[in-house]
């Protein structure tokens, strides 16, 4: 299974989950990715990881009850509010942190004040305040599938 198929399978897990998520479906191709990487580089961030680029080509950002996965644009929230994009969330995360801490790219958010960051070739779910690591994944497909399965399992347990 290549990364394209793996991400498609993970997104299917999310589509069939207990709670509904909103998928941003605008086209996101290599040209757009290239420009986005330029914007990131100008602000001192690394390029969008390859697998995340594949994810964006299938869903240009997701918001919902399980997690938020960001894109370069903001994402809509209910009532006309806005979830800011990768650059704004990364800037906020790095601004709040200890100034000696490494500058990292934030690609997502989870409840309990957690952020999904990309660092050293892996995705980490970390505490936004302390950067303590809660979970680590090799690629974004693993993050999506595992997070949905864990949350749905918790909901089933709680419902008993």
């Amino acid at each position: 299974m290549d990364m394209h198929e793996k991400i498609a399978a993970a997104l299917d897990v999310l589509r069939n989950a207990e709670g509904k998520s909103y998928f941003n479906t605008v086209p996101f191709d290599k040209d757009v990715l290239q420009i986005c990487n330029i914007l990131l580089a100008k602000r001192g961030y690394p390029n969008i990881p390859d697998d995340y680029g594949v994810f964006l080509s299938q869903a240009a950002g997701i918001v919902g009850p399980y997690f938020t996965l960001l894109t370069m644009d903001a994402l809509p929230l209910a009532g006309g509010a806005l979830q800011q994009g990768i650059i704004e969330e990364s800037d906020a995360f790095n601004h709040s942190a200890d100034e000696d801490a490494a500058r990292v790219m934030v690609v997502g958010k989870m409840s309990g004040n957690a952020r999904v960051i990309y660092q050293d070739g892996k995705y980490h779910v970390v505490d936004a305040a302390t950067r303590d690591i809660f979970r680590t994944y090799d690629d974004i497909a693993d993050f999506i599938a595992d997070t949905v399965r864990k949350k749905d399992a918790a909901l089933r347990t709680a419902a008993k």
Partner: protein
């Protein structure tokens, strides 16, 4: 600058400061039997030297005859009030570096802040750090919304492993239990705040609230006492008095959780970050100031207007809402436009993928602010002096955004939306100029015609 001072002087917050100053001055000149009971240190004579030079005419160069304004000069500045409370010198220097807007907000918070016995400890901790961090702390305190209280409490850092365990418990048990509790006990409050029936059904299933198409509401679940700094609350389990069931960490109990607007949660996190809580060594305890929901809103701190809490009743303050969102978008578009590899053919595609949602939001905020200003103008609440501020907001934030959209070859309909907003703002500005002309019996200023063209394009 003089106008800014005058605006600050006439604001409610500044009048509050005047009252505080008078109280502080009275306290300072009243002989005390028990000096140890003083909540402040006695002032030094030198503190008042600069203030002695101030004259009312320096504060009111444009409106010396305004009869409905407070026309007394506060005997104490913000720094002086904080000095009297015992704030260290580095913090006082930091106060002096803050903008009038930040100072105004700090004035409104001063009484509350110093009612916390340990606030001075927090200031002394921060005062020994870098100036940049002091500025960050003061700015973060000022940014806490009035709907939240600021308290001081001990922060005892737990180990990363323990923090992880507490977070996993929150994800698996406490968060779903809290949502079900909200659905059962606070449904009316949530409906009043604008949650739809589907969102309430999500909550009753233990899921965070979304619309029927999966779009989340602009809320987070906040730990009132911070999870990573909960000390025993994050290490010794007990039965949640509300949720019952198996023992859980008290930090995750329903009584320590609050459904809170995202932007308020960010403000709270910024205040924590400004105190560098992440650098607290494991096992150590520090005194911190933290923003918490007020007692009556411990379960859900929401606002019925989830997009923006409100637009202030003055043009100057309401236009503030459009500035940040416009600047962010303009800067990103300018960066793209400056890139050699960017081609006009990519314009629409890039706009849809990278800017469309932020653009729609920005237009929405501009539209609301414009409607608000039009209403103020229609009711005669705008003074002709505010034409200059409105013109500046339009020129500094709307026109650059329009230009950036043109450079990045944004779709024509996007440009037209901005043009329409610019035209409506210009109509208000022109109306204010007409009022001024009618009052003075003179013609509108020369050169106004050029500025009246949509978005500043003559």
């Amino acid at each position: 600058m003089a106008k800014t001072l005058q605006n600050a002087f006439n604001s409610k917050a500044y009048r509050h400061a005047v009252a505080l100053s008078v109280l502080a001055l009275n306290a300072a000149i009243t002989p005390q039997q028990d000096a140890a009971a003083l909540p402040y240190v006695l002032r030094e004579n030198t503190v008042f030297e600069e203030k002695a030079q101030a004259r009312p005419e320096q504060i009111f160069p444009y409106y010396p005859a305004a009869e409905n304004k407070i026309s007394i000069l506060s005997p104490l500045s913000l720094s002086e009030i904080w000095a009297n409370h015992g704030a260290p010198g580095s913090i006082l220097e930091g106060l002096a570096r803050q903008s009038a807007e930040v100072q105004e907000k700090l004035v409104a918070r001063t009484e509350e802040l110093f009612s916390n016995r340990d606030f001075l400890t927090v200031l002394h901790q921060a005062g020994s750090g870098k100036a940049k961090n002091i500025d960050k702390l003061l700015g973060s305190i000022a940014a806490i919304p009035p709907e939240m209280d600021i308290i001081t409490l001990a922060y005892t850092r737990i180990t990363p492993e323990q923090n992880k365990d507490v977070w996993q418990e929150f994800q698996a048990r406490s968060e779903p239990a809290f949502y079900r509790h909200l659905a059962a006990q606070h449904a009316d409050e949530l409906k009043a705040a604008g949650f739809c029936d589907y969102a309430l059904s999500c909550l009753s299933r233990g899921l965070s609230p979304t619309t029927a198409d999966g779009m989340p509401y602009n809320v987070d679940v906040d730990h009132i006492v911070e999870r990573a700094g909960g000390g025993r609350m994050s290490t010794a389990k007990s039965v949640d008095p509300v949720a019952g069931g198996e023992p859980s960490y008290p930090i995750n109990h329903i009584g320590n959780l609050c459904l809170i607007m995202k932007q308020w949660h960010h403000s709270k996190n910024d205040l924590n970050g400004a105190q560098n809580i992440g650098a607290t060594p494991v096992g150590e305890t520090r005194m911190l100031c933290m923003a918490v929901p007020s007692l009556e809103h411990r379960a859900a701190l929401l606002n019925a207007e989830l997009v923006q809490p409100y637009l202030p009743p003055t043009a100057r303050d309401s236009t503030y809402f459009v500035q940040g969102t416009s600047l962010l978008l303009t800067q990103k578009m300018e960066d793209v436009a400056a890139e050699a590899s960017f081609t006009p053919q990519m314009g629409k595609k890039l706009f849809n993928a990278a800017f469309a949602h932020a653009f729609d939001h920005t237009v929405n905020v501009w539209t609301r602010v414009t409607e608000h200003i039009e209403r103020l103008n229609a009711t005669g609440s705008l003074r002709h002096q505010e034409a200059e501020d409105l013109q500046k907001t339009r020129d500094d934030f709307l026109s650059p955004l329009t230009a950036a959209c043109q450079k990045t070859h944004a779709p024509q309909e996007a440009l037209e939306k901005l043009t329409r907003i610019g035209d409506r703002m210009q109509a208000v500005i022109a109306s204010l100029h007409e009022q001024k002309s009618a009052q003075s019996g003179s013609k509108p200023p020369q050169g106004q015609k050029a500025k009246d063209a949509p978005n500043g394009h003559a």
